[in-house]
Subunit: 233 residues, 2 copies
DNA sequence: GATTTAAAATTGGTTAACCAAACTGGTTTG
DNA sequence: CAAACCAGTTTGGTTAACCAATTTTAAATC
């Protein structure tokens, strides 16, 4: 997902090449779901690359759920069908790095959902954790300190309270990159931080009151300035 | 993201343990953003685990954008702040596997966005690729064959046309698991497939006509049965 | 001829030795 | 005195040898 430094890109290029070759092999040998991939040693021989490179390529395919490695047994093709396998690998190879705009756009989308889900599903324990992060944020801002981290942790607490493990995972994936970009572009200045306390509190109250509509509305308001900023960058 | 087989879980447990220890080390030594983590050898010594385990743990932290490894130089803590680092690592360690319901819920959310974005941003090349996947789907269904894969590839083509690289990546991550669950639970039967042709075509036309509202409406309709199914599982 | 069993080969995972780039400190040089 | 340089050390990355579990093969037994 992150490809920034040159050495990494080079490394990634080799990995992608191997993934492409594995795809070709699947097609050429008519390997079907459930079939076993040739062993890592055989592949590294065939492709004339190190076994480590093959292992990493396989691990990436495993991350996307396309194959599954069984210790002392082999690597098996998952049951998603040849067509989907080809299409998805093709897409993976062509994936480009996420830009800031798409990150923010995605974050807003995810959070307008998590806040609604949190309002309906939140447990008392969720509420307690949200309160903690909210207080930490307040304290920092009132001390005039930078509070980007505490800001985002409050939002992550909402994601956790949403009870949707997939969205929670996705939020965790994009948040560090969001924070780095925020600090890079100085998105949050002091004035917005003071306003942020009020907005965060309102969101918290709406979730506490289990009012999804209001929670979403408050979140939307909270994002309005960010939204505009994002589209002017 | 995927933790299914026992050996993998065990492996994962060790990795998480190491990640926790790295977090403790960051706190104990007051390591700050930009600081260098102790070398892999030192960590593997200190934690009494193999260097490979340490490397994998670091790689996971790198995936989430929390650290960055520089060849022949060291692993550096990313500039997201100590507080966020602690919070996010904590969340990562407690991440649970995505369940089918949360997968579908997330997919619907993402796709109701991608379809709107695709309607406004799609290029002619995007349109061409969507048409191809749509035709492949039609052919399969009209031959009475199973077309789950072609179905999903059409949706991935929309995601690509959305021009949002983040959402595109996220869609690619969840799609294989969606397909597997679909085939496992036999979500799509023949009747729905025939209906699917019509719905897919309508979505395609709306995107071609660059009508975001209509595109979203058609997608929503397309998802209505899936939505109900998801909540009855 | 079918079943059991044991040994040999195969597999992904692990470990440790090795490599080249990069950093470090002191020395030389202008 | 500062800049250039050079050996020695440290670093993440790479390679190859090794391990234990599994699978395969074929021999042994009934």
């Amino acid at each position: 997902m992150k490809l920034e430094i040159y050495t990494k890109n080079e490394h990634q290029a080799i990995q992608n090449e191997i993934i492409g070759k594995i795809r070709d092999l699947i097609n050429y040998k008519n390997l079907e779901p459930g079939d076993k991939l040739p062993s890592e040693r055989m592949l590294s021989d065939k492709f004339e690359v190190s076994r480590n490179n093959v292992r990493e390529a396989i691990r990436k395919l495993e991350f996307y759920g396309l194959v599954k490695s069984m210790p002392q047994s082999g690597t098996f093709i998952e049951d998603i069908g040849v067509t989907a396998m080809n299409g998805i690998i093709e897409d993976i190879l062509r994936l480009e790095d996420p830009d800031f705009k798409s990150l923010v756009e995605t974050r807003i989308l995810l959070e307008l959902k998590t806040v609604r889900l949190a309002a309906t599903r939140r447990t008392d324990e969720d509420l307690k954790q949200m309160k903690e992060t909210l207080d930490a944020y307040k304290t920092k801002v009132l001390n005039g300190e930078d509070a980007v981290q505490e800001d985002l942790l409050f939002h992550l607490a909402i994601a956790k309270a949403s009870g949707n493990s997939t969205i929670n995972t996705l939020m965790l994936m994009i948040t560090p990159e969001i924070i780095m970009n925020f600090e890079k572009f100085h998105v949050c200045d002091k004035n917005q931080a003071m306003l942020g306390i009020e907005e965060h509190t309102e969101i918290y109250k709406a979730i506490k009151a289990q009012n999804p509509q209001k929670a979403k509305q408050k979140m939307k308001k909270h994002f309005s300035s960010l939204y505009q900023y994002c589209y002017n960058i």
